[in-house]
């Protein structure tokens, strides 16, 4: 081979490499725009950043700790809610005490018998595509929401929403239910209102366009990188003080980017370097922000920890075994093992938060946090425990808190002679196994703010397989209660019985810590989810 030939070959190779690279990056421009939901709109569509006021920044970057699997609000899970709650709204929204407050509904009437809800819609509310929101949109959205959401099906049964006139929607139930408004307000699988056309075009994997009524509209979703929203100029705010996700919403930011940054050290370093003005703070990082003069630390009520029994497993189908576990548990030890600081948890014998004044109950609290190994051993003996292995289902994902809580529980169970096995999975596997009655015995998990007892997943037959006539009956009585007095009575009765039946054992409530720079003001959070509507960011 002569020299010239060899050199030109080398040059060709390099050229070919570049060509491959060039073609591949060229491809995505054409291929990515196939459907609107992939969110790869061209850069030209985002409006030029215009500051709302001279002292205010127009762009906010907000870090998200986990990937966003879908932006369909009816499917939204823990991680998507950060984004979707700023794009979409429902008929009602929770205020900071988890009380449902009208949002897209102007008001509602409840018939004498408590069975028929009539929702009066606000007039002149525009969707992000310019269309006015009417009853047909609400009905299409809510009926789809019901078909996708387990807790909605449990509450509504066969009943569907129906159009009465352009601005009136009716829901006729078979039995009186007092949890309808709370179901419509809950942030997970949010009962968001979208245009009828969008709902009808949706496939089982979600809507294809993200059009809501909220103060921010969807611009672009760059998979695994960021979601870009911008201010919706035609937003019609309600006139009430902002609280939780309810009340007045006025967007001061032109552009909001939810940056997906799964690594917690990276998120925190980015906060320190000034990229973000808001960040979650782990205990290890706490000393680094405590000394900063321009940063406020906030403690937010995050989730509660519950130990859920598989009521179809060989051992825990017997209530004696469930009682034995409840007897030995030391809530302080488990909570401390999970969050590592006494500042970040509180004991709570109720399945609901004390802040939730309607549903908080201390009935049955004598069975909470018993720390009584002797009683537990005796119960095991009575039940005839033969050394059978108990499988604890858990995951090291989600920040490790599920795992941390589970290993403390494991230690406590072993202290009374129960043989245990940890079954550690990634989250996808855990979801699959948890639905299988033969795959596990005990699952310790963190749960996002229940707002009514009917939203407690583990009282549901599909989650831990609770199958008990009395529990179902008490649940029914609870949701049918109408006056405050009746509610209190039914609620106490349910919690009292739940502490005897033990579908799950409540361990306690945990807090998460976040840091906010002083230049970021007006941020409201509910169970850790941000409402960016009234946020101002000074330059």
């Amino acid at each position: 081979m002569n020299k010239l030939y060899r050199h030109s070959l080398l040059a060709l190779l390099i050229l070919a490499l570049f060509a491959v690279y060039g073609c591949s990056s060229g491809n995505n421009g054409g291929g990515g725009n196939g459907n609107a939901a992939s969110g790869t709109s061209s850069p030209g569509t985002s409006s030029p950043a215009e500051p709302v006021s001279a002292d205010l920044a127009s762009e906010l970057h907000f870090p998200l700790a986990q990937q966003v699997p879908t932006l369909d609000p009816h499917l939204a899970l823990n991680t998507n809610v950060y984004v979707t709650m700023n794009i979409f709204e429902g008929l009602f929204a929770f205020d900071e005490n988890f009380k449902p407050v009208p949002m897209l509904a102007e008001s509602y009437d409840l018939s004498e018998d408590g069975k028929t809800y009539t929702f009066h819609l606000r007039h002149g509310v525009k969707f992000h595509n310019g269309k006015e929101m009417k009853a047909e949109d609400v009905v299409a959205s809510l009926n789809r929401w019901k078909s996708l959401t387990g807790r909605a099906q449990a509450s509504l049964g066969d009943s569907e929403f129906a159009v009465k006139d352009d601005y009136t929607v009716e829901l006729a139930l078979k039995e009186p239910r007092n949890d309808i408004l709370a179901q419509l307000s809950h942030v997970l699988n949010n009962a968001a209102i979208m245009p009828k056309e969008v709902v009808e075009a949706a496939g089982p994997d979600g809507v294809k366009e993200y059009i809501g009524t909220g103060p921010f509209k969807f611009v672009e979703w760059k998979q695994d990188q960021y979601v870009h929203l911008s201010k919706f100029d035609d937003y019609q705010s309600v006139d009430a003080p902002p609280s939780g996700f309810s009340g007045k919403k006025e967007a001061f930011l032109q552009d909001v980017f939810f940056d997906i940054v799964p690594d917690s050290a990276t998120r925190f370093a980015s906060f320190l370097s000034g990229t973000y003005d808001y960040v979650d703070v782990s205990l290890d990082n706490l000393p680094q922000v405590q000394g900063l003069s321009d940063v406020t630390l906030n403690k937010n009520l995050g989730s509660d920890i519950n130990l859920v029994f598989n009521k179809k497993s060989p051992l825990f189908s017997d209530v004696k075994y469930r009682q034995a576990v409840a007897a030995v548990l030391d809530a302080d030890e488990i909570l401390l093992g999970t969050v590592s600081s006494p500042e970040l948890y509180r004991l709570n014998p109720s399945y609901m938060y004390p802040e939730n004044t309607t549903w908080y109950s201390e009935a049955g609290k004598e069975n909470y946090n018993q720390k009584n190994p002797d009683k537990a051993k005796q119960l095991l003996q009575e039940a005839g425990y033969d050394g059978r292995e108990v499988t604890l289902l858990t995951t090291k994902e989600l920040g490790g808190s599920f795992y941390n809580a589970t290993i403390v529980v494991q230690k406590e169970l072993e202290s009374i002679g129960v043989k245990t096995k940890l079954d550690i999975n990634d989250f996808a596997t855990l979801l699959k196994k948890r639905a299988d009655p033969n795959a596990w015995d005990i699952y310790v998990g963190l749960f996002t703010m229940p707002s009514t007892p009917s939203q407690l997943l583990y009282l549901n037959p599909t989650y831990g397989f609770a199958d008990d006539a009395k529990l179902a009956e008490l649940n029914k009585a609870l949701t049918a209660a109408s006056s405050d007095e009746e509610i209190k009575q039914a609620n106490d009765a349910l919690q009292q019985y739940e502490w005897e039946y033990l579908a799950a054992v409540k361990i306690g409530d945990t807090y998460s810590q976040t840091a906010t720079r002083h230049k970021l003001t007006g941020l409201k959070t509910l169970a850790g989810y941000p409402n960016l509507a009234n946020v101002k960011l000074s330059k």
Binding site: S24, N28, G31, S38, D259, V261, D263, S270, S273, N425
Partner: protein, 314 residues
């Protein structure tokens, strides 16, 4: 030569086929359900079932594989469940960042390793040699993620010279593009450099002990001439192999570094897809990486012939 290249490329087909079967089986043997991941805790079992049906997950394994390979042969690697785009597009989008990072990291590695290795070999036992031993020990023992934490603390948090994480495409400007890649490339490059420097040193030493070097010395060739003209050229083959191997590894995606610096490359794509059981993407990434490996090796083999004219490719 063209025949050689064609033959090598054809030889990858059975490799890719066997790999696709293995990956397909492994994926379907791990428990976990993409439909459940997508729909989450609150979803009703019927909803999950409907989605499974739509995704084609209820088909038996063989028809599923048959359907996939049928499309793959026509160049269609399927669609991602989660990203709602063809796998091909997803691969193309994630290749850019990985390729940029790999090239830059390899450059860092070469710039550090070659001079250090050459110097150490020609000054055996002296300070330069000891520096290399120290450096490569450091590079091999300190994991890339620890190194990256320190560089971030220093250059981003303290000095605020470079961004902590993220990625900007080349279309945003060269400096913008590089700014986000310097720290990850440094973290990756230093680790690769320590290996490369050791290989350079030992390969150079081998050559320097050969008799033609003594002949050259006797002829009165200067040290520079011996080291760079005679020895380096002959020592280059093992060095090239190591560079090729490390470049292949880098193209496969440095999952850890990519997730620390939040670079949307192949490694991150693979990790995310495994977490959400996005079967088509996992399959696509693995096949692509295998193909890229073969390609890189082929390029290295072609380079052998250029570096050493005594090698004839058949």
């Amino acid at each position: 030569m063209a025949f050689y290249i064609a033959r090598r490329l054809l030889a990858t087909i059975p490799v890719l086929f066997v790999l696709s079967v293995i990956v397909f089986l492994i994926i379907y043997l791990i428990p976990g359900d993409p439909a459940a991941v997508m729909l989450g805790d609150g979803a009703s079992p019927e909803t999950i079932e409907t989605l499974r049906e739509q995704m084609g997950l209820n088909l038996p394994l063989l028809p599923q594989y048959g359907r996939w390979i049928g499309h793959a042969l026509q160049g269609d690697l399927g669609d991602s469940f989660f990203m709602r785009q063809p796998v091909r597009t997803a691969l193309a989008e994630h290749l850019g960042p990985t390729l940029s990072l790999a090239v830059l990291a390899e450059l860092v590695a070469i710039v550090i390793a070659l001079p250090l290795g050459i110097r150490a070999a020609s000054r055996r036992g002296e300070l330069a040699d000891k520096t290399l031993t120290g450096f490569s020990l450091f590079g091999i023992t300190v994991p890339g993620f620890v190194l990256s934490m320190f560089t971030v603390l220093l250059f981003s948090v303290q000095l605020k010279w470079l961004p902590v994480s993220g990625y900007k495409p080349l279309s945003d400007g060269l400096w913008m593009h590089l700014k986000y890649l310097i720290l990850p490339a440094l973290s990756l490059g230093i680790v690769q450099a320590s290996l490369l420097a050791r290989v350079t040193r030992s390969s150079m030493l081998d050559v320097l002990n050969e008799s033609f070097v003594k002949t050259a010395l006797a002829k009165g060739v200067g040290e520079r001439g011996i080291v760079y003209r005679h020895a380096l050229r002959n020592a280059l083959l093992p060095i090239l192999t190591v560079i090729g191997g490390s470049f292949g590894t880098l193209i496969a995606g440095a999952a850890v570094i990519e997730s620390i610096f939040n670079i949307p490359g192949m490694g991150q794509l693979l990790v995310n897809s495994v977490q959400r059981r996005d079967y088509a993407v996992i399959q696509g990434v693995v096949l692509f990486v295998a193909f890229a490996y073969v390609l890189v090796n082929l390029v290295v083999d072609l380079l052998y012939a250029i570096v050493d004219p005594r090698i004839r490719l058949k």
